[in-house]
Symmetry: C2
Subunit: 372 residues, 2 copies
């Protein structure tokens, strides 16, 4: 007879009993975490894999998204017969701190006032996100992770967890990510934030219960989306092809397919994401610089680490280009860590980590099995 653990399964929540001290020094009380687990924790609790999501991801890594009805955002990587496999692993995925899918964020009710935090929510960091992930693992009875896996901002969390808490994880998979946010990446995020804040509906963040700053958020998403693709990919997919017309329209409708596509990306995003969460999470990414506490010496962040690392980058990713992964690999080598690295050929830019990629699956599968 299987005893059902109510902590396990889809669509779970937990409220932390201890207040969380953030990197800023502020305290956050009664932190909520929305999460899912897939598979079963084995008797010695040695098969847990934490999957960390990217900027606009969530806990629905391999389950249908409740708002969009779409399959989990990484069901190509997580699922039966996939590299991260519930038949073999106890898989944990939580909405990040600052998010808008159930974990504490600016849209959550402030216990002190009974109203949404809005911009009174404290500014958080990737380290704070990881602290919450670890608290969740404590709750679930997971001491040491078999692996932490993430792409983009998920990779930042995996790096942060492995660097700051090497006693909590044996292997780390970091895909299409970086140990710091570049000036160009900060610049693109700032454009998105200014687009949101320029929307009068933003109202200094106090829009809950009223009209939301959807126009500003859509613009932010459109700008960001360009950075997720590659110039070559856009040219291949759209080129200068026209949308539902034979000739130029001589107007400001979406003449070109690429315009129509971008508008759709912006509009569909606002149905599933909170504008203030977008502000807070982009800020956390901008703040991320793993070498900063070590006077810029990235290798020192991994000194003597027993963690095994696998890094993957994609040739056409210009948001987190290969040199950013190489910089981490170099630091890990200098720190004497066990590290493997592969740059995969792809025309799909940063988005490649979310798309069908047998090579990526092969790399992650091989790396995880070698550590089991």
């Amino acid at each position: 007879m299987t005893v059902h653990d109510t902590r396990h399964g889809l669509d779970r929540r937990v409220t932390l009993t201890a207040p969380l001290t953030l990197a800023s020094g502020q305290m956050l009380d009664r932190v909520e975490i929305a999460y899912e687990t897939y598979g079963s924790l084995n008797t010695d609790a040695s098969n847990a894999v934490l999957v960390c999501h990217a900027l606009t991801g969530d806990q629905h890594v391999a389950s249908v998204h409740p708002r969009t009805g779409k399959p989990g955002w990484w069901s190509r990587m997580v699922g039966v017969g996939k590299p991260v496999d519930p038949a073999r692993h106890f898989i944990v995925c939580a909405n990040v701190l600052g998010g808008c899918m159930g974990s504490s964020g600016p849209g959550s009710v402030d216990p002190a006032t009974g109203k949404p935090f809005a911009m009174a929510f404290p500014v958080i960091t990737v380290a704070d996100m990881v602290a919450v992930q670890l608290a969740l693992l404590d709750h679930l009875g997971v001491g040491v992770l078999a692996a932490v896996v993430g792409g983009s901002m998920g990779g930042m969390q995996a790096l942060q967890l492995a660097a700051a808490h090497p006693e909590r994880v044996r292997s780390a998979v970091i895909i299409a990510s970086a140990a710091r946010h570049s000036a160009q990446n900060i610049a693109f995020h700032e454009v998105g934030r200014q687009a949101i804040m320029a929307d009068p509906n933003w109202a200094q963040g106090n829009y809950y219960g009223g009209p939301t700053p959807s126009a500003g958020l859509a613009v932010a998403r459109m700008a960001a989306h360009i950075t997720y693709l590659s110039e070559a990919g856009l040219t291949e997919k759209f080129g200068r092809r026209l949308q539902d017309r034979e000739a130029l329209g001589f107007g400001f409708d979406a003449d070109f397919q690429v315009e129509s596509y971008l508008r759709h990306q912006g509009l569909s995003f606002v149905d599933r994401f909170d504008a203030n969460s977008y502000l807070y999470i982009t800020r956390a990414m901008d703040y991320f610089d793993l070498a900063a506490p070590h006077d810029g010496r990235l290798a020192d962040a991994f000194k003597g680490t027993p963690v095994r690392f696998a890094l993957v980058s994609f040739t056409s990713d210009w948001l987190y280009p290969t040199p950013e992964s190489r910089r981490i690999v170099k630091a890990l080598n200098a720190a004497g860590a066990e590290v493997s690295f592969v740059e995969l050929e792809s025309p799909h830019g940063h988005d490649a980590f979310l798309l069908e990629s047998p090579e990526l699956n092969r790399v992650v599968d091989g790396f995880l099995r070698a550590g089991e």
Copy 2:
């Protein structure tokens, strides 16, 4: 005794007497052109050089800008002792059709209604801009240009003029430009347009006399500005350096220098540019595809051309990257044209064509002198 020609000099205007038939088929009556000339037209009118400006440029190529008080936008290229030299050349620079510095554009008064055109202004193309440039040259008594010179959208006009009106120009200098707008470039423009149109002050374009959509226009400028620089240039100039502080602020002020810089770029732009003009001119650029009327065969646009061409690109320009220039060079070679091409080393991205560049000046100077 010199007879002063009132058509010549700084801060001139002319209204075309004949209506202009646009590429869209629409007619535009009483087109106004704001322009400047520098130097004197020689007796056989053979020393005229037309300088074409980029998206946000204007006729003040080498004179102080009346709104910003700054030197002319290309005073590094145009001036005494410079490659385009009033001691040698009769230099003409006009605000483009659709602009906001005196030439007819959406902010101009519609003679039919006595009110600003706003979005009733017809959608224009680069070919329409060139038609207006030629009408201005007619007015000035310039039959055949010694040269047309332009960077970015100015290069598009130079290409269009040389391709469609080879009898009006002997030499063309095209810097950091392209014969078509790529999908990624259209995408970035669309983000800017959506940012403007999302601003409630835009009011379907009818904001003249009231509050302007400055917040939306600033966001558009910020997004565009990132594309004018290079990742390496941004890293070199700003990196992750903080602005006027010792540590992260844990807030949404401009913590990083790059944020502060971008915000400044956005805010200062709205003082000198009209949002509707931004919509119209970006649209014209998106529509530009010199090969389109020739079933995609760019070489056919230059068939049998007697015009001499010089093309220049910059290594770090990812908005109009070197392959776009090479594509033009290849087409010109196929058409049997006289063409020289150089890719210049620069960390400054697309902006390089506006910055101090002795190599660029040497190339342009040598090319112009060889044709005189």
